[in-house]
Each structure stands twice: as structure tokens, then as C-alpha cells.
Symmetry: C2
């Protein structure tokens, strides 16, 4: 389930965290405009519209606060060491486009395998990362990035 | 398929890369002794047996060479931003223990879902990360690390 910007604002206020213009801007881009951004992408998107209003350090600080409050999940695509932020905090799977690097959620029903995958290993959850080419990249014939394994 | 230490040595020599005592030590721990180590874990394992012989910088440099030659894959567990090295270079899945942080391969047959998961998304591959508790940690009742999401 995606956390909404309203829920995030409520939760921050309830935790005694002051709403500033900077914080509101970050929440707006994170919860209402972007999908699975990295801190750098979030920074660049805000900078394009509001130059010199929010610093990358402020972005990182806010991501830590939001993560600690359970309002987002930090995750890594298998092939990259760049932290991305997911506002969908319930278990779900990811589609990863190797051309544009975009991550989208996959929440539909999948015939998941049995979780008794290895003797003695007690499985708690299964996460699936489907790597491929998104519709937009296929149409635009964008080249593949060099990071896919 | 796991790359063997013999194959790695052959390939490095064929690429004109000189075999040094340091490099041999790294290859031995990486291909014959450890499983999915991070650079730090590889460093610590070697240091415990051969203090001050190999530096962490040397480890990182060698990992880059081996990766560029296709002799290992660098990957990230979904919950952590720490690069790990996989000597199994063919597609396979991972079991991740949230207690000891150990990663093990799962290569057995799984009833994988259809890869037509989203309209317009052309899937190339599916990767599965099963999170849980390994046998050793269950027996020893090790506590969970704070990094699982």
C-alpha cells in the first residue's frame, strides 16, 4: 500500500516533527510526483523546479526520518548500490527497466513457488525482481545501461 | 555455474594480468573458501590468517578486474547497500538469512511465474530473493539484524 502525502504529513506532525517549506516540497515530490527515486533523482527533480531551495543533505536527512517512521522503505536494485525509496510499504515485487533504470511496483497475483526452497532454511518472505524493458524505452529504442548483470 | 579458482587463474593469465602472492591469496579466499562475501568480509577473513598482507584497496581493485573479466558478479541484497561478490555467474536465485546476513545460492527448479507480468513490459529475467533464517542461525537462536525491511 502506498503511503499518501496526507498520511506522511499527519504522521510527522504526530511525531512532533515540524513541517517546513522544504519538508513539504520533499514530501510532495516523493509521495505525489515520483516513483522509487534515489536521493539524487529526488534532488534533481526538485532542483529543476525550485533551484537552491533544498540541499542533497536535507533530502538524505528527511529520508532517514521517514524511513525510521515506517513511511517509506529503502531498497537496492540487485545490480546497483544506489539506495532508492519506496512509498509502498507493504510486501510487493519490482519491475526494473535496464534501459531507463526505472523501478515500478508489481502487486498483482503471481503463482509464487513454495517457500520450502532449501532444507533447514525457514523462509519468511519472497521478493521478485523482474528485469526487462519498459514500454516507453521499447518505443523510444533507448540503449541498455551498462549496469545490468 | 561457479567459477573455479583454476579457471580464474587461467583467465587472468590469458588477459596478461600478473599473478602475485596477494592476488593468489584473494582468489583462494574468494573462489575456494568464502561464499558471497563483501569486500570487507573478504579482507577480514584474509587478515585473520595473514595480517597486513592484503589491503582493502587491493581487494577492491581485484574485484573490479575480476568483475570486468566476467569472473564474478557484483550484487546487492535488497535491504543493504553493501556490494557482495558472487562467483556463480549464471542466472540463479538467492536465499538471504536476516540473522547472520549470509547469502546462499538457490539453483533448484522453481515453478517460476509467467514473465508477462505487466502490459508493455518486456521481461528478460526473473530474480528471486528468499529472506528467512538459515539452519545454523535457527539452531543457535541468533537474533535478527536490524537491516531487514
Amino acid at each position: 500500500m502506498n503511503v499518501t502525502i496526507e498520511e506522511a504529513v499527519e504522521r510527522l506532525k504526530a511525531s512532533g516533527i515540524r513541517m517546513t517549506a522544504q519538508r513539504e516540497l520533499i514530501l510532495d515530490y516523493l509521495y505525489a510526483r515520483l516513483s522509487h527515486p534515489s536521493a539524487e533523482e529526488l534532488y534533481e527533480a526538485i532542483y529543476a523546479d525550485y533551484p537552491r531551495v533544498v540541499s542533497i543533505t536535507t533530502i538524505y536527512k528527511n529520508m532517514r526520518v521517514l524511513r525510521d517512521l515506517g513511511l517509506l522503505k529503502e531498497f537496492y536494485v540487485r545490480q546497483t548500490g544506489i539506495a532508492r525509496y519506496d512509498t509502498n510499504v507493504l510486501p510487493h515485487h519490482h519491475l526494473y527497466c535496464v534501459r531507463c533504470g526505472r523501478v515500478t511496483d508489481y502487486t498483482g497475483a503471481l503463482p509464487l513457488p513454495s517457500i520450502e526452497v532449501s532444507p533447514g532454511f525457514q523462509a519468511h518472505s519472497i521478493f521478485l525482481e523482474v528485469t526487462g524493458t519498459c514500454k516507453a524505452c521499447a518505443v523510444l529504442q533507448r540503449p541498455e545501461r551498462g549496469i545490468a548483470i
